[in-house]
Amino acid sequence: MLETTQCPNCKKTDVADIRDCVRQFGRDQGNLIPILHAVQKKYGYLTADATEEIADWLGIHASEVYGTATFYTLFSTKPLGKYVVRLCDSPPCHIEGSLSIQKAIEEDLGVGNGETTEDGLFTLEVVSCFGLCGVAPAIMVNDEVHGNLTPEMIPAILSKYRKEGN
């Protein structure tokens, strides 16, 4: 269930923690996206109580907070892996073979698009262009970019994170 929010770092689950995270921003609706970024960064995903906390703070309905969050691909309403592997499959990467990279990742991780590995380490997301067309095909693992990829390079890249993450 998505009912409680747990800070992945301090494991705190009380509402006050979320409240602090939300209330560092102003109260007009223009702060919604920045708040969602902050919540996403801190908790890894948007929870029900965070949604309500944000709604109360900004004076809008929880339904709007949720609906807005789900519009943007960088926000998630379910927990993601520690490393989010984003693979671009827009034309420049596609032309240069992104599908073979996807296949290599899927084989290595054993999950498909939008899924998270059982150990909670990796989530694979096939996304739109992130501007690394000069080094296509490319992926981003969290904030780090890897380009000019071949399927053979994938195991090494992923195992590096696997080592770091465990």
Binding site: L2, E3, A48, D49, T51, E52, I60, H61, A62, S63, E64, V65, Y66, G67, T68, T70, F71, T77
Partner: protein, 579 residues
Amino acid sequence: MANTVNLTINGMSVQAEEGMTVLQAAQKAGVYIPTLCYHPDLSIEGVCRICVVEIKGQRLLCPSCAYPVAEGMDINTHSPKVREARRTIIELLLANHPDECLTCSNNQKCELQRLAKELGVQQVRFEGARRDVPIDTSNPSVIRNMDKCILCKRCVRVCHEMQSVGAIFANKRGWDTVIAPPFNKELSEMVCVFCGQCINRCPTGALKGNDPAAEVWEALSDPDKHVVVQTAPAVRAAIGEEFGMPAGSLVTGKMVAALKMMGFDKVFDTDFTADLTILEEGNELLHRLKTGGTLPIITSCSPGWINFIEHFYPEQLPHLSTCKSPQQMFGALAKTYYAEKMGIDPSKIVVVSIMPCTAKKYESERPEMRSSGYQDVDYVLTTREAAGMMKEAGIDLPNLEDGKFDLPLGMSTGAAVIFGNTGGVMEAALRTVYEVVTGKTLENVEIKAVRGMEGVREAEIDLDGTKVKAAVAHGLANARKILDLIKEGKADYAFVEVMCCPGGCIGGGGQPHPTSEEIRKKRAEAIYAEDSGMALRKSHENPAVLTLYKEFLGEPLSHKSHELLHTKYTAKTKKKAKA
């Protein structure tokens, strides 16, 4: 006065006012443009692209609902390009819409069905994936089948703009967009007040109420059951529309006749308990005035409104009158007073309500509404559902001879009838309170100050020297304004009437489609016409109510009254998502 703008529409010279949209200008000139996401009650969404028109000099087709007129504009509303575009759009919608017209609750009333016909759609050239979302049947008031949704967002707009409830919103994006409560919860888990305004505006069959017709038919054919029906005042001013009659047709007698044909053992009137409400609530007001109770006192007839205040303003619950709604007073009396009087075992009595309201379905199932020892009201049918049953029974309502309500619970006054309109409860109460307080006869019973369609209205009533300030609000966004005033300590009203739906019950979520300000006004006129045609127009003059007190209740606010006619409220969390 806005500046005049000269345009050409379909080769015709037309004048419009600056600031008008092309759609408004066309409507003014009598030129029809089909629409889908547009609704006269709501803000402009401009997403369905059905109302596109060709404007000379524009590269693209322009949505007429959102496009402002300009001097010299040359508009073609039905050029081949436009017609082809509209038809393609409808085809695209149909390609993602279930082929279930014949089993759809909105069959033959569906705007998509009508547009497909009107635009001459003969085939759907596109095929592919279709939306597949589970149906939400979590509550009795609003059933959501998002596979039929065309994403016009009328429901979202009415829920946010008119009702300020915000239970639903567009989630996800692109082709995956779906209108839903957050986290794909079911509506029963959300702060939905069950007002059904979304159903009223849904162009397709994506939203509907839970129809208990089958259960009611079963009760009617059960020889062991004594089935009584009560009809809310707003129903008689609208049910004719379901049979093709113009809005504002008053069909009280025909409705009674139809219900008798359907086989109800007794056809009673919620108006009876509306009169009773006035006596209880009026006395409650006087009592609070005298004893320094919580003021303003706020009416409690409207179950959507009760849900709203319980969720959003729980701290203000003491302002609510403790009176049950007339529907529930009726149910409680039917299974006690009436059962006793007739010598019928209350367990054999089935109480059916016909209401303009979907929230009443929820209200009847509240656990506190069992003061007779049974569920006081067994089934609630909306105006639409009742008409559906009549049609199924082959009843040609417009051509029926008038019937008469049964006694005693069918006796009522004009004061009760006007409960159907916003301001009606207030007016009815003032008619009684005036006479009780002053001991004088009120000559002009029509208190125009509290009538009308303005969202929030205020009035000051002179009770023989004592001035009482009153306020009336309808539509929950307007109710919110008053509650905020109270919260801020800026409300010096003694008495406030709040109705959940725009226009009051005549604009309820269970009323016939379509709805618009114009239609609501016509229904309201019908209600006032019924009132002015009645001999008795003050609740405290209702002889049946007086008999009820004499025989059974004793006096207003008596012990028995409290047991049967009053209730309590529960503060609910706004965060039902967590529950």
